[in-house]
Symmetry: C2
Subunit: 392 residues, 2 copies
């Protein structure tokens, strides 16, 4: 299968590109490198050093004998999007190429507007290019479990059957996203659903949970194949951040009460889920949603798991919650569709956390604890806005 | 009350500004005049000639002794938005300032992207300006009944109580919008709901039906106070278009089966509803939705009503539907909240249609039938795209 991976220089895009290449697919790797610009803007870095995309592709070719086609450009440039689809002629597109940090979108007005325009317009350009060039392409789009928020009912996979005043319909599951970033993903989902309806496009929206881990079968083949490991307050995801804090002898910082519960998954399962979606494409005109996570944990539970797995001493500290969110709430979300397709999850055990701690240990001299504190306040867009540098 | 009317040069914005001024409010009139650019782009015109905003404001002042403050600028310019709020210091904002045509948004990729960016970014800039300058401002935002689509259950006003697997929650009503324009309004609604939640803003989202009519108590006071009357295939709403077709001796063009049913309201009721929302503001942190229409009709029924009210002979013709929509469907939508606040509707009777026909008759020499045919095809974004001129 010819698969175009958008955002192929990123945390998940790169290991996905490698994995799909390894599995025999012809892979095109699209990136604008704006993710690396965010690092310069914020003064943060991946804990694990990463090479340039072209260099990583070369190393992969040397090791595996398999080639990956790079395409350098921005999805917000429609000429680039149309040209890339016409040149590469994909059977499927895996779309990771969006600004993916909730805190980044909450820094100030400029970052909120940037996030929504960047994500929504890039995705619209893609939909129009598919409609014009090849309506048979299967779009596998990365959404987020955060689109749903924390309703007081069970979360279903994208749609819910509602009976109301004696009539019944299956309708899009109501969304209550919790940041301008999460909102951008809801906007995308609505746009894609519509494009499938009017143009007969095929799409799978992967509402992904919080991903943890840094190593995959392919990235482990060579140090220069490593993917990013973010632990800063803006781009770091919670479990990665806790592991770095533990190794650095810093208390694990839980936002507020810590009862916030989220779906989580191992980075290896991200790859497996994307592959399952590709192998079992959506039908013509079908917009379907898979909830892509394997287990749910509260933030407090995660901190306790890390403290338990860490060989040394570690404290758990509560910091004021920069987010506006429920800190204790009901949470149960369906996630059977990928299991039905054959997903065998890597569950979060001590061994997994130990391997993450080992990564943090290996690069402990690169840890900059000053970047871990939250730098965006959901309640006050003006505070940090005054200090923010310009957008990339 | 100090009320800033955004989009005050438009079809509904202008009569709203006049009406609120007449009712004793201090009115600021904000517009970028981009709506007039769309006319140049498409080669269409309001059937009723309209003066420049500054001229209309002068005429109003001469007649009423009341002044309206003009602010010329674009909501997509954050400096303009922040400055205008700081200068005018509104108690409330009525936000009509969006690209409001579904067919315009469906012309091609550029028009879809333009519509979503223009509407979403303008609205985001406004929300951030309110959050920073005055969180007590009441935002009355124009949404559309088209956000809901045509579900097979009763449509409620913004929210629905759902019982699912033994648990109950009140959640945002699921949306199934039918164009990139309608999607932009859904994006706005989601952004506003979030801003109310995190910043305690007050907002009323008016999910308005299709508006008909051209005359209001204030616009009738002088010919130079007239508002637009659009009948072209892109900006004309259905009843206005039928009246012009009848007067021009052209068959009334019904798209497809004509069973498409929509909520409708008289332009005078738009003014009354906005005023009721202003007089009864949303509470701190409240995001509420009013369904703003008074009656529902199918397109076929509307054509028959116009044929019936017209003195001459008129044919009803079916043309291929350029839209992707259900042409026969269940439709029942709640609209009691504005009635509860005291709305007394102007219902659609023969007299109303006769007065619209009289407007069309008065300006029959300005009718250009060539502009009535649909010029955007929901199924094929590339057809008309090749011919489209650049965006304003």
């Amino acid at each position: 299968m010819r698969v175009l991976v958008l955002g192929a220089d990123g945390y998940l895009g790169w290991p996905t590109a490698l994995h799909l290449s390894h599995r025999g697919h012809a892979v095109g790797a699209v990136d604008s490198f704006v993710r690396r610009q965010y690092d310069y803007e914020l003064g943060v870095s991946s804990l694990v050093p990463i090479g340039q995309l072209h260099r990583r592709i070369k190393v992969w070719e040397e090791i595996s004998g398999l080639s990956i086609d790079p395409f350098v450009g921005d999805l917000n440039d429609p000429g680039f999007v149309f040209d890339t689809l016409r040149t590469f002629r994909p059977d499927a597109i895996v779309h990771f190429a969006e600004q993916r940090s909730a805190p980044y979108s909450m820094i100030d007005r400029a970052h909120a507007v940037y996030t929504q325009v960047n994500n929504v317009v890039g995705n619209l350009n893609l939909l129009f290019a598919m409609a014009e060039i090849d309506r048979n392409i299967h779009l596998v789009k990365l959404g987020t479990m955060g689109e749903y928020g924390t309703p007081n009912i069970d979360i279903e996979e994208g749609f819910i059957e509602i009976t109301h005043r004696g009539r019944t319909d299956t309708l899009p599951f109501p969304k209550q996203p919790g940041s301008y970033y999460h909102l951008s993903k809801v906007h995308d989902s609505n746009n894609i659903m519509f494009a499938c309806r009017i143009w007969g496009l095929r799409s799978t929206d992967l509402n992904q949970g919080v991903v943890y881990g840094q190593e995959t079968d392919e990235t482990l083949l060579h140090p220069e194949l490593a993917t990013r490991f973010d632990y800063d307050g803006v781009f770091g995801t919670v479990l990665n951040r806790f592991c770095v804090q533990a190794v650095a002898g810093h208390p694990l910082t839980v936002y507020g009460a810590g009862g916030q519960t989220r779906g989580m998954l191992n980075i290896r399962d991200t790859l497996a889920c994307v592959e399952l979606a590709l192998e079992n494409p959506a039908a013509e005109g079908e917009y379907r949603v898979f909830n892509q996570f394997t287990e749910s944990f509260s933030i407090r539970e995660l901190a306790e798991k890390v403290a338990d797995a860490f060989s040394g001493k570690v404290e758990i500290a509560t910091v004021p919650n920069p987010r506006v969110e429920k800190e204790e709430h009901y949470y149960r979300a369906a996630h059977t569709k990928l299991l039905d397709l054959g997903l065998i999850p890597h569950l979060l055990d001590r061994t997994t956390i130990a391997s993450m701690l080992a990564v943090a240990e290996r690069y402990r001299d690169r840890i900059d604890l000053g970047t871990i504190a939250p730098s965006a306040d959901w309640r006050d867009p003006s505070v940090r806005g005054q200090k923010a540098s310009s957008l990339p």
